[in-house]
């Protein structure tokens, strides 16, 4: 099923659902006609959209709100924090082309601090689907959940076979191993999986965890990995500050645990704008480059 198909089916079954966009219809082109007045396009006005979503939620609606991830989480940040967050309203913020998926747009469009911003809002939760299958499997949970969510939208075709049913705060283990644990989420799961395969062929056993939700995060899975494997590797198309690497560091600190951690994240700079395969190559995030970086750290 497509994302759009899922929203349509959910909207038919649940009249609380409304779909909003700040003139970003790429993922939901067929919905205006099918949803009628429950499809609301406010134009290029992310702040008003998020505030209005809070108003709709006050009336009992569940707004699914779409904009480019950079503008949704940055331009409208204070509305997400102050109206949706303080209000603890069930608004679902769906950010398109997050992280490397903004490709050649350049730094204005690079949402690579979005996880840091959204998880810093007390009531906000964060879902990072690895592919369209996970997006469609997870969205019903996100929609049913009574709190606000940020969804790092990714509808790429699945490249791994998912083995565990979706559950909020539960990681999916895709490979077992004792040498290294790779912690991955979003579309980079594909590259992390490729890296794990390459490392296995070289005799390095890899535990691969697909985290799915970064808030809440599967603390037990990460702490077990810290205890049972020699190296934790965080893979994220996000600044090293505030995203998965920070989440892991905070978790280990809270639990008085030390373990070697290799962050594969973006350093303190914007990534090179280019088409996705070239970005991955240039920034060192292909499966092969990730495997090399891990092998060098072992």
């Amino acid at each position: 099923m497509t994302y759009e198909g899922l929203l349509y089916r959910t909207a038919q079954a649940d009249d609380r659902l409304v779909v909003m966009t700040a003139e970003n219809r790429a993922a939901i082109r067929g919905l205006p006609v099918r949803l009628g007045d429950r499809f609301i396009d406010v134009g290029i006005a992310e702040q008003t959209m998020v505030g209005a979503a809070a108003g709709l939620a006050l009336r009992g609606r569940i707004p699914i709100v779409h904009a480019l991830a950079a503008f949704l989480t940055l331009r409208a940040f204070e509305f997400a924090r102050t109206d949706v967050g303080i209000g603890n309203l069930p608004v679902k913020l769906v950010g398109d082309v997050p992280g490397f998926l903004s490709e050649a747009n350049g730094p204005t469009h690079q949402a690579i601090e979005d996880i840091a911003l959204m998880r810093g809002i007390p009531s906000m939760n964060v879902f990072c689907p690895a592919d369209v299958e996970e997006l469609v499997a997870g969205m019903p949970h996100v929609i049913d959940h009574r709190m606000p969510w940020y969804v790092r939208y990714n509808a790429a075709p699945a490249t791994v076979r998912h083995t565990a049913p979706f559950a909020i705060g539960k990681a999916e283990q895709l490979a077992a191993g004792r040498d290294v644990t790779i912690l991955a989420f979003g579309f980079l799961l594909r590259e992390a999986h490729a890296a794990a395969t390459l490392l296995s062929a070289r005799g390095v056993t890899v535990r691969l965890l697909n985290l799915r939700t970064l808030k809440p995060i599967d603390e037990e899975a990460i702490l077990n990995a810290a205890a049972e494997t020699r190296l934790l590797v965080t893979v994220e198309d996000h600044f090293e500050t505030g995203g998965l690497t920070s989440i892991v560091a905070e978790l280990l600190m809270r639990n008085r645990t030390t373990v070697r951690v290799l962050p594969i994240a973006l350093p303190d700079r914007w990534f090179k704008p280019a088409l996705l395969p070239d970005v991955l190559e240039y920034e060192g995030f292909t499966g092969a480059r990730i495997a090399e970086r891990i092998a060098a750290a072992l």
């Binding site: 008003t48 998020v50 505030g51 108003g55 709709l56 509305f79």
Partner: protein, 285 residues
């Protein structure tokens, strides 16, 4: 309006101002902005809004959002007088045992949404108005904003969206006290011609004296002012209204009165001599 209604409104507004003055001590409050919109808030809750203390959660009620936030003593004073909260509760102002602080809190019955950051609740009101349209209700969303708040870009963004969506169930009220924090609006970021600006954005606009109940009765007649358009009321007011010692004084935006000054100010409200205030004022907050 009957003389009796006018008298009742005047008496209620006076008691609301007394509450505001009492909240101006032991930490203080934004007194100037509260006094400017006290008459407007009293008039709205007594004669315009379809809401009572019994219907604060009724989905068919009118919604009133206080976007300017600073003037929450005027709202709470009105709530105390009209039975939304106990009068006694106002004595909890700034105490950790309650949620009565310098900006609105939803912990108090009747408060539709928290505010404090300017330029937010027009968008929230738009969401409510959109939903009322979708559900086919006849209730309305009112948003009270300050004139200084019109510096915020989201006010104008929201005005564009509200007009585009033909939200004639949305009413924006501007407390035009001609001050923003520490400056006169026309000295810092001029707003005039304000009515024409609203009209150019596709709104239907009326102006009124925000201290005249008869004026407000005329201004609020026949909402929406034009079918298919959002309505705006620009209420000309005086910051600090009711206390000549504070009126139009830039440095009396926020007031933290001594207990003696509270007594002086209460007497001044009732027509006594002008108070001499020596307590701290905060130029910037």
């Amino acid at each position: 309006m009957t003389p009796q209604q006018r008298q009742e409104l005047t008496a209620t507004a006076l008691r609301v101002r007394e509450h505001i003055v009492r909240m101006s001590t032991d930490g203080g409050c934004f007194m100037g902005a509260s006094l400017s919109c006290a008459d407007l808030i009293v008039y709205l809750y007594r004669h315009v809004l379809r809401i009572t203390p019994a219907t604060v959660n009724d989905p068919s009620r009118d919604y009133c959002f206080l976007s300017k936030g600073h003037d929450v003593p005027a709202l709470y004073g009105t709530f105390a007088e009209l039975g939304y909260i106990d009068r006694e509760r106002l004595s909890h102002h700034l105490k950790t045992t309650d949620s009565i602080y310098w900006h609105p809190s939803r912990a108090l019955p009747g408060v539709e949404f928290h505010s404090g950051s300017l330029g937010h609740l027009l968008s929230v009101g738009i969401g409510v108005a959109l939903d009322i349209k979708i559900t086919g209700g006849s209730n309305r969303a009112f948003v009270i904003a300050g004139d200084g708040e019109l510096n915020e870009g989201t006010m104008w963004e929201g005005m564009l969206v509200a007009a585009a969506k033909k939200l004639d169930n949305l009413v924006l009220l501007i407390d035009r006290n001609e001050f923003q924090a520490n400056f006169r609006t026309e000295e810092l970021i001029p707003l005039e011609p304000l009515q024409q600006k609203f009209e150019a954005f596709g709104w239907s606009v009326r102006a009124t004296d925000g201290h005249s109940f008869d004026g407000m009765e005329q201004a609020f007649k026949g909402l929406p002012f034009s079918p298919g358009r959002p309505s705006a009321v620009i209420a000309t007011t005086v910051r600090g209204r009711g206390l000549p010692s504070i009126e139009r004084r830039a440095d009396r935006w926020f007031v933290n009165s001594s207990h003696e000054e509270v007594e002086q100010l209460l007497a001044e409200l009732r027509g006594g001599t002008e108070s001499t205030l020596t307590s701290d004022t905060l130029m910037v907050r």
